[in-house]
Symmetry: C2
Subunit: 117 residues, 2 copies
Amino acid sequence: MQTQQASKIFEALSSGLRLDIFRLLVRHAPDGLVQGDIARRLDIPSTNLSFHLRAIVHSGLAHVEREGRFMRYKANIPLMLDIVAYLTEECCSGNPEACQRFRDASPAGRILPRRVD
Amino acid sequence: MQTQQASKIFEALSSGLRLDIFRLLVRHAPDGLVQGDIARRLDIPSTNLSFHLRAIVHSGLAHVEREGRFMRYKANIPLMLDIVAYLTEECCSGNPEACQRFRDASPAGRILPRRVD
DNA sequence: TTGATATTTCAACATTAGTTGATATATGTC
DNA sequence: GACATATATCAACTAATGTTGAAATATCAA
């Protein structure tokens, strides 16, 4: 993963609308949803949704495929996992004890990244 | 974690420069670095660095404290862990087998989020 | 082929972000 | 106090983003 790709991915998550869209797709992985489903669930005008879906797809965080006259969007879960690893992998480099302390202290710690070791 | 806060955090990571800055701070957690250290390591003009550090701090992803005439910036690791959880926590809702398949298939899978279960 | 539905593209506009150089503020040293 | 260093703020400009309504495209159904 390179900085440029990674920042593009975070940019795709940097609008509240796009974040809601992506999380909806993550929740509905691996099957995905068609555009109209997303529009209805999040109450976003079709035009604007199209614009944001385009950005998400362009970042690589989702794939599209035509399904008759519908367009089905699916979250790219492996890429999501990669970007999480990219962000966290060198945490507290050379100080694994400190790193473990952070994880233990976090209420979210139990579902959070663990070192390979 | 709310959408608004989360998208603000991702916005803080959405520029290549800020992402480099934050990852540098993560690598140097828990001690942090002073502004001049960051400027030298990443070769960013002081003015511009100040602008981006402000955005990172404003998002909550880092804290600052004065240290004589230096300003020391430290990554907020717990918040980083929270945002990772926020992004991934409802993955494949109601389909844990699919979710596990994604994790197993990812080369990054071993250091990536695991469900609480 | 005609009409209906799903989605995208386009044009226009308002808003916001990124960069730079000059200047200001705060701290430490002599 | 005078000066140097570290960092932040300001002003100005350029570029990019987000939103909307209208129009285009693609597919299906009759």
